[in-house]
Symmetry: C2
Subunit: 456 residues, 2 copies
C-alpha cells in the first residue's frame, strides 16, 4: 500500500491552479499522480476531457445489487498569491510539527486522500468488498465547475450512485467534527467601468469628465445597505429561514463570535439581520468584492484619470436562492446604477447551486430518505465519536461546492460531507496547511461509512 502522507506531499508539489492557464503543467502533473495511484488500486480509471480541465473518474464496478457510493474530490487549487506572505514556498510541501504546509494541502488534496486511502485499504484487506465505488475528482472546483454539465451529459448514468461522500468542508475545531448539511451557492462575475480612451492628465480633464474609478466605487458602494444587507431589489425574496434544530446545533459550536473573527485579526463581527458570526457565514447570502483595481498602482502618486477600472465580485447564496435569478437581479441593478457618462461591461464567470440535506432523525427529514444514506450517516456519527471522542455536529457551512448542487439536481443524489479541516487550515490564504493527525482519523471514519453501506 502507498503511504498517504507521501502521496499528499507529491500532490502538493504540483501547482494545480485552475483559474490561471499558466499552471497547465501543474494540472497535468497532479492528474498523473492521481491516475497512477487509482490505477494501482485496480480501479478503472478514465480521464474525461473537457473544455478546460479534465475530470478523473475511477470506478470499482460490481453487480447491480451492491450499493454504489460516489466519492467526490477536486485536484485543482486556489492561486497562491500573495506569494510574499508565505513562510515556506507555496508549492514545496513543508512539515512543521504535525502540520503540512502548501497550497491545496487542505483544499482538497489532503482530505481527498483520506477517502482514497480508506478505499485502498478496504480493497487490500478484502478484494471482494461488496461495494461499487466511483471516484469523481474534478479540476475546476475553484472556478465553479463549468465543465460539469457536459460531463454529466456524457457520463450521467454511470455516475448515478446511492449517495456522494466527500471531505471538502470544515470543522469548528480539531476535536469537534462537523457534518455539513448545507452549502452556499455562488454567482461570480467581474465588472469593468471605462471612461477616456487612455489614462489622461487629471489637471487637463479633471472637472469635466466622469472618473471611471469614481463610478466604479459608486456602483460597488451602492450594493449594500449600511446595516450589512445587500441592496439589490429582490435579492432576499427566496431566502428560507433555517430550522430551529439547525440554529441549536450552530449554537453548540465551541467558538464565540469574537474568537471566530479575532482568529483573523478582526475586532468586531459584522453581520446582517442580527446574526451571530456563526450564523452569518451559514444563513446569510453575501455579495463580496474579491478584488478591485484600476489606474496608478506604483509608489507615490500619479495625477491621472484612468481609462478604466474593474471589480471582481462573488455572491454566496443560501438555500432556495437560484443563482441564475440572483445573477439577473444583480446585473440589472448594476446596469441601472452605472452613471451614463461611463461604459460598463459585466463579465459573468460562473454560477453554482446551493445544496442542503436533512440528516436522519431530524425534524423534516424526508420520509423516503434513501436507506444507504441513512446507514452512512448513522455509521459516520458513531465512527466520529470513536475516533474523536465526541459526536459530530450537523451544521450548514459557508463555503460552496457547486458540483454538489448540480449532481443533486441532475442525478438526485444526496451527500454526506465529513469535515476534516478547521479554520486554521488557511484555505484560499497564504500558509495553507493540513493537520496530518486528522488523516488517520478521517481514513478510519471513511472506512466505517463504506463498511456500513457494504454490509447493511
Amino acid at each position: 500500500m502507498f503511504d498517504p502522507i507521501e502521496v499528499i506531499k507529491e500532490l502538493v508539489s504540483h501547482p494545480s491552479v485552475s483559474t490561471d492557464p499558466s499552471y497547465e503543467a501543474g494540472m497535468q502533473g497532479t492528474r498523473d499522480v492521481l491516475t497512477k495511484l487509482l490505477d494501482g488500486m485496480s480501479l478503472k480509471v478514465e480521464v474525461v476531457p473537457t473544455d478546460r480541465h479534465p475530470v478523473i473518474l475511477a470506478k470499482r464496478t460490481g453487480p447491480d445489487s451492491w450499493p454504489h457510493v460516489v466519492i467526490y474530490g477536486h485536484y485543482d487549487v486556489q492561486p497562491p498569491d500573495p506569494l510574499d506572505e508565505w513562510n515556506s514556498p507555496a508549492f514545496e510541501p513543508t512539515m512543521k510539527g504535525t502540520r503540512l504546509y502548501g497550497r491545496g494541502v487542505a483544499d482538497n488534496k489532503g482530505p481527498m486522500m483520506a477517502h482514497v486511502t480508506a478505499v485502498g485499504r478496504l480493497l487490500e484487506d478484502n478484494p471482494e468488498f461488496p461495494l461499487r465505488i466511483t471516484f469523481l475528482i474534478e479540476g475546476e472546483e475553484e472556478i465553479g465547475s463549468p465543465s460539469l454539465p457536459a460531463v454529466l451529459e456524457s457520463h450521467g448514468e454511470s455516475l448515478r450512485g446511492d449517495f456522494i461522500l466527500l471531505s471538502d468542508t470544515l470543522n469548528p475545531s480539531e476535536d469537534q467534527v462537523a457534518i455539513t448539511t448545507g452549502l452556499r451557492g455562488m454567482v461570480s462575475f467581474e465588472i469593468e467601468v471605462s471612461g477616456p480612451n487612455r489614462d489622461v492628465h487629471s489637471g487637463m480633464y479633471g472637472g469635466s469628465i466622469y472618473n471611471p474609478l469614481q463610478a466604479l466605487t459608486e456602483i460597488c458602494a451602492s450594493l449594500h445597505h449600511p446595516d450589512g444587507r445587500i441592496n439589490v431589489p429582490g435579492f432576499y425574496d427566496d431566502v428560507i429561514t433555517p430550522e430551529q434544530w439547525e440554529k441549536d446545533e450552530v449554537a453548540k459550536l465551541p467558538v464565540t463570535d469574537l474568537e471566530f473573527v479575532q482568529a483573523v485579526g478582526v475586532d468586531k463581527i459584522f453581520t446582517a439581520n442580527n446574526r451571530t458570526a456563526m450564523e452569518g457565514v451559514r444563513y446569510e447570502p453575501t455579495l463580496e468584492i474579491n478584488g478591485i483595481g484600476g489606474g496608478y498602482q506604483g509608489p507615490g502618486d500619479k495625477t491621472i484619470i484612468a481609462k478604466k477600472g474593474f471589480a471582481k465580485i462573488t455572491c454566496r447564496l443560501v438555500a432556495n436562492q437560484d443563482p441564475d435569478d440572483i445573477q439577473k437581479k444583480v446585473f440589472k441593478t448594476i446596469r441601472e446604477r452605472c452613471p451614463e457618462h461611463v461604459k460598463l461591461t459585466i463579465n459573468a464567470f460562473h454560477n453554482g447551486l446551493c445544496y442542503s440535506v436533512v440528516p436522519p432523525g431530524k425534524p423534516n427529514t424526508p420520509a423516503n430518505q434513501n436507506p444507504h444514506l441513512a446507514r452512512a450517516f448513522a455509521a459516520c456519527d458513531k465512527a466520529v465519536e470513536v475516533a474523536f471522542g465526541i459526536p459530530p455536529l450537523y451544521t450548514r457551512e459557508g463555503g460552496s461546492i457547486p458540483i454538489i448542487g448540480s449532481l443533486n439536481k441532475a442525478l438526485g443524489m444526496d451527500c454526506l460531507m465529513l469535515g476534516l479541516g478547521t479554520g486554521e487550515n488557511n484555505l484560499h490564504s497564504p500558509n495553507e496547511s493540513f493537520d496530518l493527525s486528522m488523516l488517520e482519523k478521517g481514513i478510519s471514519v471513511s472506512k466505517s461509512i463504506l463498511k456500513a453501506v457494504a454490509y447493511p
Copy 2:
C-alpha cells in the same frame, strides 16, 4: 550653438521619473545633459542637493540695475506606464512627421528648451545683453516639489527676480496660444483600508466580517454628490467666482465641450455647478481617484475577502482654496465615514498652492503691477501674434505647478506662463509628443519677451 532638437532628444532618452526611486540613473543623466549645456552658455551652474532630487540653478549675473528674469522648468517626468500602450518605446525619442514622441518631451523637456535656446541665442548675438537671468530647473515637479521650501530657505534672495517666465502649460490648439493666468492647487494622498490579517476565504468569513474593499468603495463613493460636487463639508467655502472677462476669454477657446471630451473618447461632459467643459477644468476644484487596488488582480476569480485595499486620491484646488485647510477637511471626512469595523490609514503625499495673476489692462489688474512684468506681457502678446498670426487668449488652466504658488508666496514674484503645447501632447499619458513646429515659434516669442525687459 547647440541644436535644440538634438538636445531635446538626448534629454528624453534619459528616463527621469521622479516618483519612482528605481529611475535614479535617469534623473542623474538628465541633470548631466542640462548642466553641461547651461555651463556651455557661460552661465554659473549650481546643482543644489535636496532630500530627493537636486535643483539645477544656472545664473547669468550682472549689475543690480539690470532687470532679473527667473526662468522655470522641470527635468523630471511622469511614470511611463501603461507601457504596452506606447507605439514607440517611452524613452526612445521617435519622430513622426513634425512630432517627437517620448515621455517628458512636452512635459517639460521640449518647452523648457525653447527658453534655454532663446537665452543661448541672445547671449551669442550679444554677450553684453543687459539682463540678469536665473534658470530654476527642478526635479520634483511631478511629485509636488517637496524640497522647494528648503531650497527657497537656502537660496531665497538670489532667486528673487522681477518675474518668472515658463512654458509648462497648454494651448487650446496648435494655432491658438494661451497665456495662463491661473493654476489649480493640489492635495495628494493615499488611503488604505484593512480588515483581516490575511486574505481569507469568502465562504468561511463572508457574512460575518466587514470586507475592507467594500469599506474602501463606500468611503470613496461618499466623496461626491450625484451632481458632481464634492461631498466634503466646507470644501467650497473659500472658492472665488471667476471674473466675467475670464469667462469671456474661455468662451473664445476654439473647442466645443463635445470636441474637448471626444478627443479622449468620452461621449458626454460631466461638470459640477453647470460649468461648460472648458470652465470645469479651470474653475472647479476636483477630487479624483487616480488609482485603486486590493485583493485578487489575476485572471478569473478568487473567492477571498482581501486583507486590505488602497485608493490614491488627488484634489485640484481653485483660487483662494488653501491646500492645508482642504487636506484637513478631507481627511476628517474620510475618517468619519470609515466603518468602525475596518482600520484606516491615510498617507499624505504633498500639497501645492493655487496661483493666479491678472494681466495688464484687465479689470482688477493691481494698480502697482510691476513694470517689468507688464512689459513682458505686452511683448509676449505682440510676439505671439507675429509668430502664430493671432493674439493669445488669457485663461486659467486646470493643471498645477505647485512651485509657482510657493515662489509667489515666498518671494512675491508673478509669472508669465506661455503655452507651447496642446492636448494632443498626451501629457501624463502613453504616446506623449511635442510638435517641433512650436519650438522655433516659442524661441522667437521668448527672445522678444527677454528683449523687451532688457531694453525698456
